[in-house]
Symmetry: C3
Subunit: 447 residues, 3 copies
């Protein structure tokens, strides 16, 4: 009577999981479908299954295609280690390293790709089904998806392993999905960590998604989901978190570290929350609201923007200047309360030269409420180092002997009206038409 | 030497788990008790056990009775899918559906019930023990409890499968409990998802609890617990989260979707936090504080109240009118800061006809501090649809071309004194006796 | 082909896990190292392994030493129960108790210790490696580490089992670590729950760490980590959460209960967040910022300080008086917004006698922004009880019939300048030099 719905990839008779785990998992899925054929047997019939991946190095040459609900794929180890640090270590030191590669229950994405392939073809896991109902309750838990290498992107701007480009995606959901869970995963060196279309009641919780071109992309449209308690950090070309036409998204308790072009990018997102995150970036445009993002809440977040301290990425940025704002808003009736902003830069690096940097910039839309935000801005001598970790820790801990930097705490453009700006800067620091927006200056200390 | 404390329900010799998993689990618990008899064997003796439920459809005819500590019951799949959508799909379309039922490690609650049975008799899992110590560290993880059907509730208001009534409970804790954990579960189509008495240091984390009459009920009294990072949505008769006489409860990072009568209902709760949640409802009374709820913190939440867009539930509500408030407070010294409220309704649907809707209503109690909340209220043409998902997404994403709705942002009744209301509405929008309460109007933009 | 990287301690041929699980795990680690020797075999080579500990009582006489990456150690049960309640129950009642000891997958720390042993020698798990890279992705999940007994600390202040002293540590990380995970653990009766040096991208999530001398200590320096969603409560001598020279730490969604000397203690911590926690303490100094802690965010927290209600610990405190502040800040440019503070004490117990208690005290540093905090202070008749649980619940739920206590809501010392204090107390309640700090009084209600 022992369950047939529990599979171990190392015990399945078809294929060799170390050579091509994709073939093995596809064979298991075919087995599940061949056994679970009837939709209504005594009030059940298609309970799905679990596929277990013990710790090990598993090459994936064949894309896994998932078109059944209630499939759980789980490992015992998210296996993240920094490939970026390793690839930027001089090769003569590699022999002395204890280990070179990520580990845990680790999938090495070896899918052969052509230049002109559609994006989804580079996905290790491709989830798609037409018809009804939407796929439900597919779960990914506690394994590692490693894209192995980045490659020359043709720009010549960086060495190939620093390009964040390889055409690979960890998890790609191409059709509408409901109640999916992605938890305790480790994603590394993928151009797209996960790209998910049309999500409903999605959980992305407690993952480690770093050194990817983009980390989390919610595309198309969707609703009522959460991105919570993750460690996330995209590359300079992409987004740590991206959402499109989404309603009711809760982004909270994430620690988003550099060097994503944006920590969070919203495109037409409404009635969602960005609360209680720690956001750290090396560029402006940390949080961006594009295309009429409305009625969103941004509160209790810690924003830190400072300089890239690690030698291999010096001189690289996301192309935005210091007038763009750390938080850039297009849309109506958003709420921005009780955030801390630190802007720690060297005056010499400010773009355009001589500009007064902007912390919050409201580009368009009416009725935004921006209240009780604390902006700290200081001028530092940026230090750099060949050691990724110590460079960053040193920079983070340096708060003394710094000179105050003059900033515009809030800039409201002329296209935007009827906003309310309270206790978020002095009369000089808040730049807007104060006859068409409401304003109360933060009281300033005496000398 | 292989452990005897690991059980797989599909490998246990007593009973058939597919026919009655209750009999199997009760037999396993009896085995644990027969083996772990001595309370002090070399500083141990009663470590408990784990019972594993692989993915599959398991009928439960016999109630599981748990009276030992340190029992973990776990599956590999929360298995949620929307039964509500399925039951409201025309039956002629069922043949084309990929699957009809929830899945994962799924328990089908088939307990035979009589009309006059006590509530606990309808529980799939009944936890109870007298004497000392309290039961500790029972854990439920990553399986599905499915109540299968709702039934005619005699009101004739809805079709039976939409009644949220069937007398069934997923997890019922009848005596004091300590350090319990309920995580990664899927609960669906139960009248009560979980009802827990006298909880201490309880963790309810990262579950999916929806399409239940009530989702989470903490009853009697309790302390120092957390309800975090869940996806929750009760039916129109019940509560998504309910707590009674509780101190030190932390409710955070939950995404609570419609259509619960209340998203969160506190009855005599003190010194607790509702912070950083996304709350969405179709009715007033989203968060209610009854019976002297005091010294609680409500901050950084996103409240959205709009209209039911899905055809099968049109015309149904929780009986409260628009003067009740989205947040309704009875009690002293509560703190309400930095929340966003959106009220998106059609003027024609406001009750009583012609009334000015209320966002926050303070009914009684003194010393409440309500500060820096942003209220957005617009009049929309409510649209409805036969498709649950697309109807809701469409409604969520519609923010344009809407006309501002006149509301009372804060109403303090005469029985309530010495409150402080700051930056939460204009002089007209905040209705109270301003001689006995403190007030500062939000500065208003010019024309 | 079945995986060799999955180990069950009860099935390993070397040692007896019930007598000394340390010997067994060390033997397994040696096996992993003997099998995984090459750092670069087909882009892999050292994936690590998982070691499973089924529920049971496992004595640990030999310290486990971990010097490999990608090792996961996991159980099926965090197994917490209150040893404190048991040891303070009269011994004649023990025979009637259902169980005496914690359970789950439980490790009993029996390491023989000498008085003069270095601290790390008392650790059940000691993680250390020199060279590069840092150890990565070691994971601990869902088991119990029990220190069994506290012992006479020579002070005579408490009975030995209440001393929180025994020289034992659960998890001790002695060298730099990256992407470690500690989740779903239960730690009890250890002098140090976990002490971790030089952490990067650390996850401490969803654990139960209580009745330990100190719960979580992040030492040395570190960055970009999270302590989230834990239930925590240290002893009166130590810290529930301690961090040293850390940048980018996110502490959120924790429920920290008494009786730690501090709930959270920061030593030279910068650009970090304490947001959205529930903090409860019996002493002042709940949250302390020492040694120039700068640019940190403290928001949306619930602070409750009341009196010890449980007989065995009456008269014990952390040595701080009521002028110290519940939140005590040394440092620059910190942000404190939207917190609730309740101070519920008996006037007769205030130290120094007749003093006006302080809620927030800024000791040194400039540019702190303290805004929109709500302070509630009442004088109560403290009640005590022999029953730990009911004493605390009674105290928590008592909010009525209490008399208001006069407090200083914010005290800024003369050494600290250029701070901004808004809506956090009346002109009388905020004590500072208002010519060198900015101030706006909370509007006060009329009589």
């Amino acid at each position: 009577m022992a369950s047939k719905n529990y599979y171990d990839v190392t015990e399945w008779p078809v294929g060799n999981p170390y050579e091509d785990i994709g073939e093995v998992i596809n064979s298991i899925i075919a087995d599940i479908k061949s056994r679970q054929t009837d939709t209504d047997v005594n009030n059940g019939g298609k309970p799905g299954a679990v596929i277990y991946i013990p710790p090990g190095d598993y090459h994936l040459g064949s894309q896994v295609v998932i078109d059944i609900s209630f499939l759980k794929i789980m490992g015992s180890g998210h296996g993240f280690t920094s490939s970026s640090i390793r690839f930027n270590t001089p090769e003569e030191e590699w022999a002395d390293l204890h280990e070179l590669w990520p580990g845990g229950s680790r999938i090495l994405v070896d899918i052969p790709l052509e230049e002109q392939d559609e994006e989804y073809k580079g996905a290790a896991f491709y989830i798609e089904r037409s018809g009804n109902p939407r796929l439900s309750s597919v779960e990914f838990s506690n394994f590692c998806i490693d894209g192995l290498h980045f490659k020359d992107d043709g720009t010549g701007e960086t060495t190939p392993e620093n390009s964040y480009t390889n055409g690979k995606t960890g998890i790609y959901v191409g059709s509408a999905c409901d109640s999916f869970r992605i938890t305790e995963m480790g994603l590394v060196y993928l151009e797209h960590g996960m790209a998910i279309y049309h999500a409903d009641a999605l959980t992305i919780h407690d993952n480690f998604i770093a050194e990817c071109g983009n980390c989390i992309e919610l595309r198309g449209w969707g609703q009522a989901s959460k991105i919570t308690d993750n460690l996330i950090g995209a590359g300079f070309k992409g987004y740590s978190i991206y959402a499109q036409n989404f309603g009711g998204l809760l982004i909270t308790a994430n620690n988003v570290f550099p060097r994503g072009a944006s920590s969070i990018y919203f495109d037409g997102v409404t009635r969602s929350s960005i609360t209680n995150n720690r956001l750290h970036s090396f560029y402006p445009g940390m949080v961006v609201f594009k295309e009429n993002c409305s009625e969103n809440l941004v509160s209790s977040n810690h924003f830190l923007r400072d300089h890239e301290p690690w030698t291999p990425f010096l001189g690289i940025d996301n192309g935005l200047d210091d007038l763009y704002g750390l938080l850039n808003i297009s849309g109506n009736n958003n709420t921005v309360i009780a955030n801390h902003f630190s802007k720690i830069v060297n005056t010499d690096n400010i773009k355009p030269v001589g500009a007064t940097p902007v912390i919050i910039r409201v580009v368009s839309g009416n009725g935004n409420y921006i209240s009780n935000n604390h902006m700290v801005a200081t001028n530092v001598d940026a230090k750099t180092s060949d050691s990724c970790f110590s460079a960053q820790v040193d920079a983070l801990l340096t708060t003394e002997a710094s000179e105050q930097l003059i900033v515009t705490t809030v800039l409201v453009e002329k296209e935007s009206l009827q906003n309310t700006i309270l206790d978020s800067g002095s009369d000089v620091q808040v730049v807007m038409d104060k006859t068409v927006n409401a304003f109360r200056a933060t009281p300033m200390p005496g000398a």
